[in-house]
């Protein structure tokens, strides 16, 4: 599964994309797994209220299941227009 980061999430973590070979059950499990890794992940995921998540390129929730998902993306609230 690909995990993508955008905007300041990408900057804090320091990379735009990485692979996770065994996907956890839910988005929240993935977040916890990443947080446990290193300080920079902990910093990026410190305030989940300031984050949005997309599963397979559709906006989703932190409790969404990841079974069969090919791509998860984390980013701040969008500021288009």
């Amino acid at each position: 599964m690909d995990v993508l980061y955008f905007a300041w999430v990408r900057e804090r973590i320091g990379l735009p994309k990485e692979r996770i070979d065994t996907p956890p059950a839910t988005v929240m499990d993935l977040v916890n797994e990443l947080r446990a890794r290193e300080e920079r992940y902990e910093a990026a995921f410190a305030d989940l209220g300031a984050l949005r998540v997309a599963v397979d390129q559709e906006l989703s929730d932190f409790d969404a299941p990841l079974a069969g998902a090919r791509e998860v993306a984390f980013f701040p609230p969008m500021t288009g227009g």
């Binding site: 390129q57 993306a73 701040p76 969008m78 288009g80 227009g81």
Partner: protein
């Protein structure tokens, strides 16, 4: 329906004229154009727009289809740029065509409200004072609740 995500600049006048010329039987055309503006206090030198290539086109198509299903429209155009922009550059435009003006106005406002908060774009402003990601405004999120 025409939805374009592009790095290149676009010409509002040509796009507006081409959009009107394509219509038949539509009495009302509304356009909205978003422009890079200088910030209060700090001089803006560049605005960098990041997006999520795999998702952006789909998200905009979904928003446009939703507008088409809610209002009686002849046509919709969305153009949104990404990359490095400067003050006075056009960031994006939408255009709507309808028989009646209320449909054209409401659909254009709906497109803008959803484009602001549901399309995967992020703006970073470089000023004399430094570099900052533009924060989403609560009122932009609140604007969605009226639809």
């Amino acid at each position: 329906m025409d939805v374009r995500v592009q790095e290149a600049a676009f010409d509002l006048g040509s796009e507006a004229n081409a959009f009107v010329a394509k219509q038949s039987g539509m009495g009302a055309v509304v356009t909205f154009t978003g422009i890079v503006r200088d910030l209060d206090g700090a001089r803006l030198s560049t605005m960098e727009i990041e997006h999520y290539p795999g998702m952006t086109q789909k998200a905009l198509d979904t928003i446009a289809n939703e507008a088409a299903s809610r209002w009686n429209l002849g046509d919709i155009l969305i153009i949104h740029r990404y990359g490095m922009l400067h003050p006075d550059d056009l960031i994006m435009m939408v255009a709507t065509a309808a028989r009646h003006r209320a449909d054209a106005f409401q659909a254009a406002e709906f497109l803008m409200d959803f484009l602001k908060s549901r399309a995967p774009f992020w703006k970073k402003e470089v000023t004399e004072a430094g570099t900052d990601w533009v924060a989403a405004r609560d009122e932009d999120e609140d604007a969605l609740s009226r639809w």
